[in-house]
């Protein structure tokens, strides 16, 4: 063994450790952005949930810490396991996810309380897992299609059918946010896989019309649209815009530098869901515009590195998988932040890595692990090609 024979040389040992780190070919930028978001998230979950249970300020933080640990273990596993390995489980994952979705739907219909319990988000939300499963399945399926992706009969038709069916299940669960993320994910992957832009445009138009129809069909969502157009009624008195209104007050009262870490007042009962869907508002109030821009910058790094992994992936499956995962995470972040900042009609989704929520956190971190593995294999291939040149 080499290490057994090496002398006890601290400098040499440090250098050899550095060399080992480089040999790992880890996308440190992607990892750093993810860990940065995770740490900021833990901090903010602790701060934002302080007043939720009086006398137990760390209650939600401790649970999030547990989920973060599980998520990091998942990340390490998925980063180390060759991503091609998961391809075999693509159909099973999608099938299992759909069954779980239907089960939730059924439970929701049978017992209303069960559905609400699921929606509170403390426990497993199949729709979170569904995002990863669908990204995996789409990548596998479209990579197999090859040039057929471009055709109407073999490309668009089955894609639209499959995606439409899945979205229906999720919409039946009354989860507009997740359906929107999955729709964006699907369109992005389909687009990357080589979809005919005309087909895609038609699908987008039809899908958009469908969403608008749903929004206008259900009065509740229409009210949310109204709330988006008038986000700041006097005294935040309108029930539909209460959360948006309080979120904007949080952001605005934070200003450039914020009230300071832990100093949010809005989290003390004014702002609904301060440590889940509205956590970005608490960040804005405590850390100001600088904190908000930091979050946005970290997601930008995630996007750059994620699509970079996709572009450099050794095969189409890897490229599409990376594209799907990256699109999902960034779209979800944009929807969450856009909702809080009243840039889009309010849609309740967690902010990836930051909001409280076990299913979301573990799935997202596992997905980043997959991204890291794709990035690693891409850089391995480049290195191999460089050496071949």
């Amino acid at each position: 063994m080499l290490s057994a024979e090496a002398p006890l040389d601290p400098l040499g040992e440090r250098l050899s450790r550095l060399a080992w780190l480089r040999r790992q070919r880890v996308d440190y930028l992607l990892l750093a952005a993810t860990l940065g978001l995770l740490l900021l998230g833990l901090l903010m979950v602790y701060s934002a949930s302080q007043f939720i249970i009086s006398g137990a300020p760390a209650y939600w933080f401790e649970r999030q810490l547990l989920w973060a640990t599980l998520g990091l273990i998942a990340l390490i596993v998925t980063a180390r396991v060759d991503y091609h390995h998961w391809r075999r489980f693509a159909v099973a994952a999608l099938g299992g996810g759909v069954i779980l979705l239907l089960l939730t739907l059924r439970l929701g219909v049978a017992a209303y309380g069960a559905q609400r319990w699921l929606q509170i988000g403390v426990s497993v939300q199949p729709s979170e897992f569904m995002k990863l499963a669908f990204a995996l399945y789409l990548a596998d399926w479209l990579a197999r299609k090859g040039d057929d992706t471009r055709t109407l009969l073999y490309g668009l038709a089955p894609f639209a059918l499959l995606t439409g069916l899945l979205l229906t299940f999720i919409l039946l669960q009354n989860d507009l946010g997740t359906s929107l993320i999955i729709a964006i994910l699907a369109v992005a992957v389909f687009f990357t896989a080589g979809a005919n832009p005309l087909h895609l445009a038609g699908a987008l138009l039809a899908g958009g019309a469908l969403y608008l129809a749903i929004i206008y069909e259900t009065g509740f969502r229409r009210a949310r649209l109204d709330a988006f157009l008038h986000p700041l009624p006097p005294g935040c008195a309108a029930a539909n815009s209460y959360q948006i209104c309080q979120g904007l007050i949080s952001l605005g009262s934070g200003g450039l530098f914020g009230r300071g870490l832990g100093e949010s007042i809005q989290k003390a009962g004014y702002l609904p869901n301060p440590f889940t869907d509205s956590i970005f508002a608490v960040i804005g109030e405590e850390l100001g515009l600088l904190g908000c821009l930091t979050i946005l910058a970290l997601f930008a790094v995630l996007a750059i590195q994620g699509y970079r992994a996709g572009r450099r992936a050794p095969d189409t499956f890897g490229a599409l998988l990376a594209c799907g995962i990256t699109t999902w995470l960034i779209a979800q972040a944009a929807i969450n932040i856009g909702s809080v900042a009243a840039a889009i009609p309010f849609t309740g989704v967690p902010l990836p890595f930051v909001s409280f929520g076990g299913s979301s956190l573990v799935t997202s971190l596992a997905a980043v692990g997959v991204l890291l593995n794709i990035a690693r294999q891409g850089s391995a291939e480049r290195q191999a090609r460089h050496t071949a040149d």
């Binding site: 007043f51 090859g146 040039d147 992005a188 687009f191 990357t192 896989a193 080589g194 700041l232 935040c236 904007l248 007050i249 949080s250 952001l251 605005g252 009262s253 934070g254 200003g255 450039l256 009230r259 832990g262 100093e263 949010s264 007042i265 809005q266 003390a268 009962g269 004014y270 804005g284 100001g288 515009l289 908000c292 821009l293 946005l296 997601f299 930008a300 996007a303 750059i304 699509y307 996709g310 572009r311 050794p314 189409t316 490229a319 599409l320 594209c323 699109t327 960034i330 779209a331 944009a334 932040i337 856009g338 900042a341 009243a342 840039a343 291939e381 090609r385």
Partner: protein, 582 residues
């Protein structure tokens, strides 16, 4: 790895399209950054204001109310904190402490335990203990110490002391209608100086801005701002508690002796208009204002009007002399009555006095003589004189609810002539006691009418701040100094031999006139009997009015009000160490 060219093209296309996706999302993130910046920079002020409106609760705490002091610094009114005993009957019952609590409290408060036990045993979770008379139990120092000791050694369960700020009037009912009282429910002064000077006495309430959570409970974080309260001003009156006390005692005695319904005494410094005493009966105790009839809360010395009767004759004489219509030596033949506008007006007792000069008119209090003077002055000049002396207009005294008085409103020349005749001896005219006193004060002050006042000074910030001093204020010259001197001498001369027996005032010459008015011709025995005058006549120091409402044992000014007037003027002048002038 070797790729076929089609595969290479597809990979290139995939890369291009991912770059497009990246571009789209980076733009989206950038736009979001802009949107967030819009709220956090441009909308910051508006949203911060909304945040503050939500988060900040103002707790207002009252400033300590200032004291009211008499001219010598004696405390007439002050605010003190006294403890109320409160208890939670539910807790007491649950811990089975009813009997021991009643026992311990009875011992500490020196009340029968049975009375306390029944109060502690009411249904519910709150009771404030009351004394045997049913008034809220405000503890004195000894009781407070005893209850605190019992609380400290655990003898009382479910009982606590609750501090309350209350207004105390140490002299009880002394000058009650001058002082007014403070309404316990909101601490706002009612009636008298407490109302008139409420803004000064109340001070500026303090405010604590606290950040609260959505339930309204205070938060440790967030902005806090405290504006300290500024204590109210201490108000010093011109009133002398000693003279006030004599006036009230004397009035009570006179009312008891004559069987009167009530009365008013006013003592005033004619040179300044400073009110030295202002007493009325019936009155009330401001420490228990809730028990007083509403009618007793007003200050009739400034709020009630009456027909002054013959005391007005001095004003009639002054008008005549000032107008040059008469001199003290002018005389008329008085056969006991005269006819004005078809109405025959008689002297008192329908008595004729034959030829009489002006001093004799005052001495006999002859109505026929007064009418003769007024008619010589003439309607216009007489009414102008009434206005100059301050009748039918507020005196401007710094006390609330002042009445302006009343004048008859004649509808014809005949009625006007009759009114003139009646006014000349103080009928058909409504004056407040203070107006009448001020008219005499003008004569006593060399013809210059002062504004009466009772607030001498106010020391801001609970006696620690700036002192505002209120100076005497001359309103106008009413008659010449010579006229004032002449009328004064006429009053002195007539008083010496009048039925009011002013000659019994030892050492001081007095200028005074009696008045007996019978406003209700159907019940001529119900009179306002008064004596009004000033002394010493050579350099008047005090104007004094003693007025009795409906005296029964004797109904005339001189006999009913005279004894008290003489006693008080002598007492006051000796109190002020005024050198004798006789």
């Amino acid at each position: 790895m070797i790729y076929p060219s089609a595969e290479l093209a597809r990979i290139a296309s995939q890369r291009r399209r991912q770059a497009i996706l990246l571009g789209v999302f980076l733009l989206a993130l950038l736009a979001l950054g802009g949107r967030v910046a819009y709220w956090q920079i441009i909308q910051r002020a508006a949203l911060t204001a909304r945040a503050n409106a939500e988060h900040l609760r103002a707790v207002v705490f009252a400033a300590e109310r200032g004291m009211i002091l008499d001219a010598n610094g004696n405390i007439l009114a002050l605010s003190v904190t006294r403890d109320l005993v409160i208890a939670d009957p539910d807790v007491i019952r649950q811990s089975g402490a009813l009997d021991t609590d009643a026992q311990s409290l009875g011992l500490a408060l020196n009340l029968p335990p049975g009375l306390l036990r029944s109060q502690l045993n009411i249904p519910g979770a709150y009771v404030a203990l009351r004394d045997a008379a049913g008034a809220p139990m405000l503890l004195d120092e000894g009781q407070r110490a005893a209850v605190n000791a019992a609380l400290a050694n655990g003898a009382l369960v479910g009982v606590a002391l609750y501090p309350q700020v209350i207004r105390e009037y140490p002299d009880g009912g002394l000058a009650a209608q001058v002082l007014g009282f403070v309404r316990a429910s909101d601490g706002v002064g009612q009636y008298g100086v407490e109302l008139g000077e409420n803004a000064l006495l109340a001070g500026q309430p303090g405010m604590l801005l606290t950040t609260v959570d959505a339930n309204g409970d205070p938060l440790a974080t967030g902005p806090q701002q405290e504006t300290p309260a500024i204590a109210g001003a201490n108000i010093t009156l011109t009133l002398d508690a000693t003279i006030q006390y004599w006036a009230e005692q004397g009035l009570a005695q006179a009312i008891a002796q004559t069987g009167a319904d009530g009365g008013t005494v006013i003592a005033l410094d004619p040179h300044t208009g400073a009110i030295l005493a202002m007493a009325n009966m019936p009155s009330f105790n401001p420490n228990a204002y809730g028990l007083a009839p509403l009618a007793n809360l007003m200050n009739p010395a400034v709020s009630a009007v009456y027909d002054p009767g013959s005391v007005m004759k001095a004003i009639t004489m002054a008008a005549g002399i000032q107008a040059g219509a008469i001199t003290p030596e002018s005389s008329l033949y008085d056969n006991g009555s005269t006819v004005v506008d078809g109405v025959r007006i008689y002297n008192f007792g329908r008595q004729g006095h034959g030829r009489e000069n002006m001093v004799q008119v005052l001495q006999y209090s002859a109505n026929v003589g007064a009418i003769w003077v007024a008619q010589r002055v003439g309607l216009a000049r007489f009414n102008a004189a009434l206005a100059a002396f301050g009748f039918a207009a507020k005196t401007g005294v710094d006390l609330p609810t002042e009445s302006a008085g009343l004048l008859a409103q004649p509808r014809s020349a005949g009625e006007a002539a009759l009114t003139l005749a009646e006014n000349s001896f103080g009928e058909s005219i409504g004056v407040t006691p203070l107006q009448m006193v001020m008219a005499y004060a003008a004569l006593a002050n060399g013809g210059v009418l002062m504004r009466p006042y009772i607030v001498a000074s106010a020391t801001l910030d609970g006696g620690f701040g700036q002192t505002l001093t209120y100076r005497p204020e001359a309103r106008r010259r009413v008659v010449s100094a010579a006229t004032a001197q002449t009328v004064t001498q006429m009053l002195v001369d007539s008083a010496l031999v009048s039925e009011a027996q002013m000659n019994l005032v030892s050492d001081y010459s007095v200028a005074a006139k009696t008045g007996t008015s019978t406003p209700d011709p159907a019940r001529p025995w119900l009179t306002y009997a008064s004596v009004l005058g000033y002394a010493p006549a050579s350099d008047p120091r005090v104007v004094l009015l003693v007025k009795l409402n409906h005296p029964r044992s004797t109904i005339f000014g001189g006999s009913a009000a005279g004894p008290l007037w003489r006693a008080l003027i002598e007492q006051i002048l000796r109190y002020y160490r005024v050198p004798p002038d006789r």
